[in-house]
Structures are given as C-alpha cells and as structure tokens.
C-alpha cells in the first residue's frame, strides 16, 4: 500500500521525452484522424518440406514467444462418409483424443494439462484437423500425442458409446431448433446429393460401429494426404526431426480422389417452407451456390457481402432491424469450402412480418446488383475488412490456422500476404460485377422455417412454395390447416391406476413424479405431483374425454422460487385461460385464447393414455397438443422407432422406444411391449433429466 505513492513520485521525477514543439501546437483534431497507409502483411515466410512417408510439413517460424502450435489436417471430412453413416467424421474426430497409443482418455487429458497445453480435434465437411498448443520445450510431447491420436487411436467401446450418446442428444436438440433446421434444409437443398448436402440423422448415428470408425480412420488418415502445419518458436530442423520420429512407421499414399455430384442447377427462385406449427417466429435463409475457393471474384464478393450483411453496420441489419424493427439481427455470409461455396442471407423475424421481411431482403439483394455502391459505403466496408485481418492472425495458432486453411483450399502462395491489398483495391464496378454472379435473387433457394398456416399465403405471392414438415416429408397447402388427431385409444385399458417415477439428473436421483388416473362423469382425470429437490414442486390436474381430448388443465407450484400456475378450459373447439410461466426475468403471464382442432391434447393427457394406445413396432400417430407456455397448438408426432431392452432399477424390460417430435424439445419414451403398456422411461433432448419408473 505504502510503496505505490512513493513510486508514483519517483515516476514523476523521470524526465519525460520532449515531443516536437509543433505537435502540441497542431492541437486536437475535431474529427477522427484518417488511417495511416496499409503496410503489406508481414506474414512470416513459411518453409515447406515433405517427409519420407509423403506427409507435407509447413513451418511458420516465429520466435517472439516460446510457444509451439501444431495442426494436422487430413482429407476425412463429412463428405467422405459412406452413405447411411453420416456423423462418422465428427465421431471419429471426437474419439481421437479419447484413447490412443498407450494412453487412455484420462491419461490424454492429464498429460497435456500437466504441461499447461491443450490438444483437440474437429471435423468439417472437407477435413478433420487435430491441433495441439504447448510451450516450446514441450514440442516433443505435442508431436507424440498428435501422432498417437492420428495414427494409433484405440476407439475404446466405452468412449464410443459415450460419444454416440452425446452426438444423439446434440442432434436431437439441433433438430428442434428452427435456425439449425433452416441451415440444414438450405444446404441439403443447395447441394442435393453432393459433397455438402449430407447431414447425420439419429438412425445414421446409431448405425455407426467401432468397425466403421476403425475403417474410416484407416482409409482416410494417410501421410500421403496429410498436411502438418507448425507455428511458433521452433526451427525447421527440429520440426522435421520431431515429425519424422513421431510419425515413424506411418505409411500410405494419398487416398484416391473422389468426385461428388455437382450442385443441382436452379433456373428460378423457389421457397422451401418447413412447416413448424405453433412457431411464433420465422427463420429465413436465402441464397445460392457460388464458385471454387480460387475464383478471383472472391475479393469483390467479400466486399459486396460486407456492404450487404457483414455486421451491425451493413444494409440488412440497418434496414430490417434498425429501420423496420422486424428482427434482432439480419446478416449475409459467404461459405468457402474446398469445392463450390455458397452465399446466404439470413434473419429470424416475427411470424406476421415474414413475407414483408423476405420481400425487403430480396429487394436489398437486387439493389447490390443493380446500383453502384456509393464511395463512402464502399470505403467503410473495405476499411473494416482490411482492418480486421491483422487481429485474426496475432497468435501462433491463429497464424497456423490461416496458413493451413489457405493451403488446404489450394490458394496461391501470396494469398495471405496480399489479402488486404487485394481487398483494398476492389472498385465499385468490380463489386457490382461480382455481386451479379454471387447474389442471384431470381434463381435462389429460400428456406423458411415457420408456421405454414400463417405464412404460406404471403410467401406464395413472392415465389413458388414447396412445403415439407420438419422431418422433410412433403406436405400440401391443405395439410397446413391444423389437423385433428390420428390417435385412438382402447378405453378398456384406461382403468384407475397410480404411476410412480424417479427423476434422475446425471445419474443421480433428484426427485420423483407420481400420477393418479381416475374416472370422471364424462371422461378421466389425471393428477400429477412432481418434485425435483428444492428446484421444482408442482401439482397438476388434467381432465379429458374418451376421444381423447383435453377438457381442462390446472397446475400450480414453484420453479426455483418462482410461482407457476395454469388454468385453461377447452370448450366447443376453443381453449381459453392463463398460465404464469417462470423465466429468467421472473414469472410472466401467457394468455391462451385460440381455436383448437378436435382431439387436441397436451403432455399430461399423453402420459395418462399411454397404456391405452395400440402400441406396435413402426406405429406412428399425430395429434394437436396445446402448449400452455406459449398459448399455441402444435402438431406432435409419436413414432415407435424400435424395440429394445431398457434397464430399470428392478431389472431389464423389453420396450418400444418412441420419439415425440414437433414440440420445443424432442422427447423419447420407452413403453413396455407386454400389456398393460406401461411407461418405463422418458428422456428430454438437451435436458440432463430422465424419468425412470420407480421400483415396484
């Protein structure tokens, strides 16, 4: 405490270096000073070598900081996955550091963290890249671990299953999120069966075996096709000798080149409407394929994209958000893979303004082709892009990433050093020429994920509309009208009963749920009591008819200290009432006042009628379901996927596994094959909560 003021005094005593007298006299400029001249990028020249086994090695030496970053890329991206095994590349990458050579997953983590380093792997559509960052003296360890991960992964069964569970749960969650659905359908539509139209499904992830992983790694991981990029405080001699030693014994020529179907041609704009009943927002993605990464139009295209939708200072954002208040954000983007890339503009808007927002977006896309971009706007866009670049290559691993990407895409040797100069040289005319190829509003694919019953008519005025459901099944405009239920129940199986579940959170019992079914004068009542530790206490009662159709929901309780309550009545095809829904800002009230189709149920009714459904392998039912937290009706689908054994506290039971989709969070149910069909287990995608039938 006392040392500081004394020191400050001593600082004051240090003679300040006098500045030229003229400078202070120039005074403070009233406007921001102009940028100084751009120096050509001072990219450390990289050195290249090829090891005896055919592996290409690139070194970007930089001795400023004693760190070394190593990355190894292999042509093993998702585009090489065998049909039906989508997800294999991602799973392979994730498992490389979960057991390799003599190290277990735990050893791998412990060893690298013990020296304060890190090692990771990731899969893209073209490549799998494994990368490690360490302090310079630990470079031998980084090479050893990297070589183990790539050459000697062990794919332990336990880790494979753990990874599969994680992938399935991530995928299930992704399929419930409208933004992820929109990109997925957009890329599938753009590339068809080509390189970049492939996506994993629950079935493909389930079908991946350890054998598939081993075979994929063997086929795609070969020194012949591998690129090792090393950046940081290391010499070429040392890098080469470490790589030679660590990868000794690894051999194999580059895997044979594969050709992929070209993206389907488009001669008119089409809207693909992904019907998601009950959606309160629409996600729009509009775009088209572009060119190969080496195309010289890349530079003017990047500037056009920056003007149009490159950030909070670009046209789409300023107009759709700031001017019209239709959305929280609107952007555009250029994707640049190894093959043909794409341009896309995207936004997420309130349902009622979907068609207006799309029309405005298309207007802006046309403008960038038809009108010259004013000088000031062009300069602002170029300055921002040119200025950002050095900030993206500050550290050794950022440099390694940039060099590696440029080499993998086959870009010219001077690409990184000349990048800023080339962007800065783009003229308004070049921009417009490039935009007229890169942005094609009259031959685009536009994907809109939203409630088709509310947005179809408006969209149909903009372009021809093709409709699918969230699983990709074609629909007709007639299908958009909320459907009734395809469920039928066996009333004889609905006898008075009590259900009891244990609620597990990450394998630990955290709470319980009980349900009591009883007969009423004109149907049934199901009363549930749920308690999850101190977090949630809830009591709910639903009444429903034999149809089955919901009559009344009443619930009350507390979630994390916030009160929750529901009171909704359905009469004459209309649901009316209120719910108080807890949220991060405290409880908020949701009004329900909506027409409902015949046979509308809700989650609680579904629980109640499980034993009375005609369960069989492959069965599929669909029904409207009221979501009281939104005041809307969604069409849910129950599909029986398979029959499998499920382990309960009191033993294994043969069960139907069924998925419930169409809601916010997909749910998986297991129901006993033997009558009475009892609900055995429930999991919710993205939530660490499992309901398991209590021991009898």
């Amino acid at each position: 405490m006392n040392r500081i003021p004394a020191f400050l005094l001593s600082l004051l005593a240090v003679a300040s270096i006098a500045a030229p007298a003229s400078s202070a006299a120039q005074g403070f400029p009233p406007t921001p000073p102009p940028p100084g001249p751009i120096q050509p990028a001072k990219f450390p020249p990289y050195q290249e070598a090829t090891l005896p086994n055919g592996m290409r090695l690139v070194l970007v030496a930089s001795h400023e900081h004693p760190v070394v970053s190593v990355s190894l890329s292999l042509p093993a991206g998702s585009k090489y996955e065998p049909a039906g095994k989508e997800g294999l590349a991602t799973m392979t990458a994730a498992l490389l550091t979960k057991g390799a050579g003599n190290r277990s997953a735990e050893d791998f983590a412990r060893t690298i963290e013990g020296v304060g380093g890190q090692i990771n792997a990731a899969a893209g559509s073209d490549f799998i890249t494994v990368f490690a960052d360490v302090l310079a003296p630990d470079a031998p360890l980084a090479f050893d671990m990297l070589a183990d991960a790539v050459v000697r992964p062990t794919f332990p069964d336990k880790e494979v299953e753990l990874q599969r569970t994680q992938q399935l749960s991530a995928l299930q969650l992704q399929l419930s999120q409208p933004a992820a659905l929109a990109s997925r359908f957009f890329e599938q539509g753009l590339y068809g069966t080509g390189a970049y139209g492939r996506f994993s499904t629950p079935a493909s992830v389930r079908s991946i075996t350890r054998q598939d992983l081993v075979a994929f790694q063997k086929a795609r991981f070969r020194p012949g096709g591998a690129l090792l990029v090393i950046a940081g405080d290391i010499t070429m001699d040392r890098a080469r000798s470490l790589a030679t030693k660590s990868f000794a014994g690894w051999s194999g020529a580059r895997p044979a080149a594969q050709t992929f179907p070209a993206p389907p041609a488009r001669n008119h704009t089409e809207i693909l409407l992904v019907h998601r009943p009950g959606s309160v927002q629409s996600n729009i993605v509009a775009g088209n394929t572009t060119f190969l990464p080496t195309d010289p139009r890349w530079y003017p295209a990047v500037v056009a994209n920056q003007v149009l939708g490159g950030g909070a200072d670009a046209r789409l954002f300023l107009i759709l958000r700031e001017q019209k208040s239709w959305t929280y954000g609107a952007y555009s983007d250029l994707d640049r893979p190894q093959g043909i890339g794409y341009f896309q503009a995207s936004t997420e808007v309130r349902t009622p303004v979907t068609d207006s927002a799309l029309a405005e977006m298309l207007h802006q896309l046309r403008r960038i082709r038809s009108e010259a971009v004013p000088d000031s706007e062009l300069a602002a866009a170029k300055n921002s892009l040119v200025g950002q670049f050095p900030l993206t290559i500050e550290t050794a691993n950022q440099v390694a990433g940039a060099v590696s990407n440029a080499l993998l895409l086959g870009l010219p040797r001077d690409y990184l050093t000349m990048y800023r100069t080339r962007l800065a040289g783009v003229t308004a005319q070049q921009l417009r020429n490039a935009a007229s190829f890169v942005v094609r509003p009259d031959s685009m694919l536009i994907v809109v994920v939203g409630d088709g019953s509310k947005i179809y008519d408006g969209l149909a005025k903009i372009a021809p509309v093709r409709i699918i459901d969230v699983e990709g099944k074609p629909l007709t405009p007639d299908d958009l009208v909320a459907k009734g239920s395809t469920l039928s129940i066996d009333a004889a199986a609905l006898t008075a009963r009590t259900d009891s579940f244990t609620i597990m959170v990450q394998g630990q019992a955290f709470g319980y749920q009980t349900g009591v079914l009883s007969k009423t004068a004109d149907g049934y009542q199901y009363e549930q009591h749920t308690e999850i530790g101190p977090m949630l206490q809830q009591k709910s009662t639903v009444t429903f008819t034999e149809a089955p159709a919901l009559q009344h929901i009443a619930a009350s309780g507390t979630l994390q200290g916030q009160q929750l309550s529901v009171d909704i009545t359905v009469t004459g095809g209309h649901a009316k009432g209120t719910a108080s829904v807890p949220g991060p800002q405290g409880p908020h009230s949701v009004e329900t006042d909506t027409d409902v189709p015949p046979g509308t149920m809700n989650d609680d009714v579904l629980r109640a009628i499980i034993p009375a459904l005609p369960w069989s392998a492959g069965a599929k039912w669909s029904f409207p379901s009221l979501d009281e937290s939104k005041g809307t009706v969604q069409q849910l689908t129950i599909s029986v996927d398979t029959t499998e054994s499920v382990t309960l506290p009191d033993g294994a039971v043969n069960a139907y596994r069924a998925s419930v989709t169409g809601g916010e969070q997909p749910i998986t149910l297991w129901v006993s094959v033997a009558a009475p069909h009892e609900l055995l287990k429930v999991t919710i995608a993205g939530a660490p909560i499992t309901f398991v039938r209590a021991k009898k």
């Binding site: 405490m1 040392r3 940028p35 310079a136 050794a396």
Partner: protein, 448 residues
C-alpha cells in the same frame, strides 16, 4: 457463476510434468510522464500488425464513499455515451469500421478502457481516449439510460444467478466496513445507491478521477515510438491536470476471529459452504504462494478438493478456490474456498470435509508434484497471454499499479517460480485458519 460451474464440470485431471526452464520473452518497456501528469508506457513489438491502446484510471470501487457504491462501474458505462467530438454510439462504430475491438471494465482498484486496432489506426484509438478523458458528454437522458442499464446488469449477473450474491456481496462482510470501507463493499454496488445517483455526481466524478494525472496510457504492439509520442503529445498534452484525488486509506486486518453466517438463496438449488479468508495485497511476498495454493487446492478435476469431496466422498457436485476473482488489489483481498453439496448430502457434512481439507493443507503442506503442476499451468498461461497485444498491455498495467513498476512484468513470474513447498505450507497455515475466516452457509430458499 454459470461460467464457474461450467469450468468446474469441464476441467480435466492434471499431473505434474518436469519443470522446464522456459520463460516468457522480455517486454522492452519505455515509460514517460507528460507535464500534465499522464503516465505513458510504451512497449513496441512488431510480431503482429496490431496495436493495443489501454488506459487505466486509478479509480475503482475502492474509491467509492458510503452511499455511492457501484458508482465507478456506472461511470464506466458513461464513457461510451459520447464526448465533445464523438456522438453517442459513434465510439463503437468508429472502432468497428476500422476493423478493431474495444471495451472497458471496473474492479476494486482500477477502471480500464481499451481498443485493439490494426496498426495503421493507432491514431484513432488515441484520439478516442483523449477526447473522452478531456470532455465527457454527460446529460440527464444518457445518465438515466445507463443507470437503468447497470441496474439490469446487476439483476442479470448478481440477483438472478445462484450463489453470486454470496460471492460478490456477502463475502465482503469479512472486512469491517466501518474501519475500512474501500475494500469492504462490492463493485456492482447496491440498488439503493444506484437509484440515488444523480447526473451531477457523474460530472464531479469525472472531474475528480478522470484526469491525466490519475491515468496511465499503455500502447503495445506494432508502432513507431517516436510517432506514438508525437500523437500522445498532440492529443493528450493540453488536457488539464486536476487536483490529486484523495488517497485511499485502508489497513488490512487479519485474524480477528472466526465468523459464521447463514444465508438463503432463492436461485440456488443445492446448499453450499463458502469459506472466505482474508489475504494480503498483491505485492505481498506471501501472495505468489497463496496463488499456487489456490490452484493446488481448487483448480481442476485433479485438485485436492475435487478429488476428496466430489470424486471420493461424492459429497459435493462442485468445488473451487478463487483468489480475488476480479483481479489483484493493492489492499486486502479475499480467497474463496467452497463446495456445493451433492443432492441429499447434509451441508454440515460437506462443510466438515471442507474444513478438514483446509486444515490438512495447513498441517501437512503440499507435494513437490502438486507444486510443479501448478507452476507449469501458471507459466503456460502467462506465456500464452503474452501473444496478444491487449494481454501484454494489461500485464504492463498490472505490474505498474500493483508492483509499482511496469518493468516488473519481466520478473513477476520469478516470484511464483521461487515458491517452495515450505512456503505453501507456511501461507496455508498462516491465512487459511478458522480465526481468519468467514464461513457462509447458503441454503436454497425454504419452501413456502
């Protein structure tokens, strides 16, 4: 706190590797003082074409007076609302259009503002900082607007997160605020004090603390020192000096007796035990050993608390040790040692295990392997941070403020590397003792 829990659950086991004699590269530092008192620290380094402009004002929550808590942070928000030549929201726009990044933050001891820019835009960063040092735009409308923004930030980051109120407010109860107000209250401040703040207070605050003689400007990265000095002279030299702000007086007190309190937390779902200890200032010779001790005890999956309480005894879902979570201090600091109970485990038993582990490290010390691992992690993170111009700038500012000399950036790590197992055992026994602690037992809010 969310991040805290995430960090806890994703942390991985660590094991000791041999200690390698690798050190971060030296940072060549030049220090000047302008006639108006502005301290200027220059550290040119041409490894990347990036320059960081980082201004520290020697003001933080420790300068706040009773009834005006949260003011240093509220003021930080005002610094982005425009100045004589910069319109509201233009600061952000100018930096973005230059391809740069910017932000500011407030701690107990200082408030910082920075821009990271491509090197040909150094002049923009300096111009923006000089304009708001000289002439902040303060009016009722932008003041009330930012006061609401800060209140919202408080609701989101403190009131609505489990355990944060305990970490960031209740823990300050370990210091007697009547004898030492400066370090005995939270940075975010109380809602009542924020509500009571008025526009005029902002003007006075700017006049008192936002003056060249209370600021340090650091320029780090790809620039020509002569040209930078000329720009600094042109933009900053005629900003007038202010009278020296009042000195902060606060004497750390240790070992004043054990305290134990209980608190309910509506956002928490599981009970937790927090042991808060008084620790000395950053410059204290004991601080490096305390830092390494906190890593050994409670950072990562193979840390002692995690192995004993979570993995072996299954009594806790999460454990952690935090030493001054907002950064170093010139005054007394806090070390938090805590465990969140597993479902169904009585909090008294978790608290007992925690006390036992704390006592054990004091009586038995740590192993060579544990100390080596902690040093390796610290060295690697220090070196990694040196790669970015902004983190170099922050390291220089920290050395300047907390060690009294920007050049100490080149020797600070030595203090840590010299620590022995005997030092760790000594500081554990000296500071981590019941009569130097506040134990906070947090229980989820009782059922209605």
């Amino acid at each position: 706190m969310q991040r805290l829990i995430a960090a806890l659950t994703t942390a991985v086991c660590l094991s000791a590797a041999p200690l390698m004699a690798q050190e971060p590269g030296r940072i060549a530092v030049q220090t000047d003082t302008l006639a108006n008192g502005l301290t200027v620290i220059l550290a040119p380094d041409h490894s990347a074409q990036v320059v960081a402009v980082d201004v520290w004002y020697n003001v933080g929550s420790r300068n706040e007076v009773r009834g005006r808590t949260g003011f240093a942070h509220l003021f930080e928000h005002m610094m982005f609302q425009g100045s004589a030549h910069v319109k509201k929201a233009e600061h952000f726009q100018l930096v973005q259009r230059a391809g740069g990044a910017m932000n500011g933050s407030t701690t107990e001891d200082r408030t910082n503002y920075f821009e990271v820019l491509p090197s040909n835009r150094l002049n923009l960063g300096l111009w923006l900082e000089a304009d708001r040092m000289r002439s902040l735009a303060v009016n009722d409308s932008n003041f009330h607007n930012q006061r609401e923004a800060v209140k919202e930030e408080r609701r989101l980051r403190v009131d609505n997160q489990p355990y944060t109120r305990v970490l960031f407010e209740d823990a300050y109860g370990i210091y007697d605020s009547t004898s030492c107000f400066p370090y005995a209250h939270s940075v975010i401040g109380s809602m009542d004090d924020l509500n009571a703040a008025e526009t005029n207070d902002v003007k006075e605050f700017h006049d008192l603390y936002y003056a060249p003689n209370n600021a340090t400007l650091t320029i780090v990265g790809d620039f020509d020192p002569a040209q930078a000095k000329q720009l600094v002279q042109q933009y900053f030299a005629n900003i007038p000096r202010s009278p020296e702000p009042p000195a902060v007086q606060c004497t750390p007190r240790f070992n004043t007796g054990p305290m134990r309190r209980t608190a309910t937390d509506a956002k928490a779902t599981l009970p937790a035990a927090f042991h808060v200890f008084r620790v000395p200032a950053y410059e204290s010779p004991d601080y490096p050993a305390l830092q390494l001790l906190s890593t050994i005890l409670g950072q990562g999956e193979s840390s002692r608390l995690n192995v004993r309480l979570a993995r072996d005894a299954k009594a806790a879902v999460a454990t952690q040790v935090l030493l001054n979570p907002f950064g170093p201090r010139r005054g007394p600091g806090l070390m938090y040692v805590f465990a969140i109970a597993n479902q169904g485990v009585p909090i008294d038993s978790v608290d007992g295990l925690l006390s036992a582990e704390i006592a054990r490290v004091g009586s038995e010390g740590v192993t060579d392997a544990e100390l080596t691992k902690a040093k390796n992690q610290l060295r690697a993170s220090t070196i990694n941070q040196r790669q970015q111009s902004l983190s170099r700038a922050e390291a220089l500012q920290r050395a300047n403020m907390f060690l009294g000399d920007a050049n100490a950036v080149n020797t600070d790590l030595d203090r840590y590397m010299k620590v022995t197992t005997a030092d760790v055992k000594r500081v554990a026994g000296m500071y981590l003792r019941p009569d130097n602690s506040l134990i906070l037992i947090v229980t989820p809010e009782a059922k209605p």
